[in-house]
Subunit: 201 residues, 2 copies
């Protein structure tokens, strides 16, 4: 692109670093900002900096948090006997949005992935094992992506948890609610057949 | 969305103000920034502020510029007898990218649009008329969008230019280069018929 202004070129380059944002979208963002009041750019600039300076990791569940202990770990209304192990904050939010879970979380901070160079010692397994030793929860729910990285991490975690003699479960896989059999991919459909459950009237 | 962190919620809200960026994309942007080095967030924060503090309007062509006179108006290699009137900086960039134009620009800063409440006196017509009186260019090319606002603005401008006894032209409309007749919409095809040009061998 031919930029007539260096300031705009720098802004476009910085914004187009975001995933899914190309040069054109970045330029549209810049043009939008130019039309908005200076307070809005000021606020945006401030919140971006705060992301890197004011956030920390919750000392209990390892989720991203504003405070040393996050709001979920701090809550008195949650079941401390149940720990749901997830990959990252997005998964915590997804499960919280279901309003079906009232236990605690443990955020691994990633999934084991030899291709991306992520090994188990970069993830928060130690913190989880310490929690189990100290708090002796009743059940660990493994809620990881249904792909190779998720399966590998789940297997690794289950092996690590074996000595603790604790109930381990994982979220069910099967056809999506509301979807039709004929449009479900064969692997999912096959898995929902082998993992069939009793029909309760 | 259920945010466990106020800092993240603020950042998502600020980023989702951008056109075409929803809550989900904004959250993905935030997660991306969290994984990047602090210098990157710092740089992004700085360039956003600069957009509102360091940019000005070129005193000649009214384009957005880093300096009181923009690089195009400052160039000695351009034909000062030719002024191309466009809506905004994006159009200047689009025409520059064609590498087919070596004249000057005049940026109106918008199009006349009663629906959006944009009246002619909010646009840079006066600046253009002053330029014409002082510099007496040979030709004005009207290069505006091929829609109602563009046509209205072009008509208004042509009327304003009439007393100056100057050559006025506009960019040609017709079927896109590389496109097929049968897939061209009927208005464009009709216009390309009535606006047919001599076939030069």
């Amino acid at each position: 692109m031919n930029f007539s202004s260096k300031t705009i070129e720098n802004a476009v380059n910085a914004l187009s670093g975001f995933p899914g944002v190309g040069n054109r979208s970045a330029l549209r963002m810049v043009m939008y900002l130019l039309k908005r009041p200076v307070e809005e750019a000021d606020n945006l600039s401030r919140v971006i900096l705060k992301l890197k300076t004011e956030l920390m990791q919750c000392t209990i569940c390892c989720n991203i948090s504003d405070t040393p202990v996050c709001s979920i770990c701090n809550s008195v209304n949650r079941n401390r006997g149940l720990i749901c192990v997830v990959e990252d904050m997005m998964d915590v939010m997804a499960i919280e949005n279901t309003a079906q879970f009232n236990g605690m979380y443990h955020v691994l901070g990633g999934l084991i992935s030899p291709i991306d160079g992520v090994s188990p010692d970069e993830l928060n397994f130690e913190e989880l094992l310490n929690r189990i030793q100290n708090d002796t929860p009743d059940e660990i729910i493994i809620a990881l992506n249904a792909n190779i990285e998720g399966d590998t991490t789940a297997f690794y975690l289950a092996r690590k948890l074996q000595p603790y003699n604790i109930k381990i479960s994982t979220i069910s896989k099967g056809i999506s609610v509301g979807s039709e059999l004929e449009y479900t991919d064969e692997i999912t459909l096959g898995r929902s057949l082998t993992a069939r459950v009793p029909y309760n009237i």
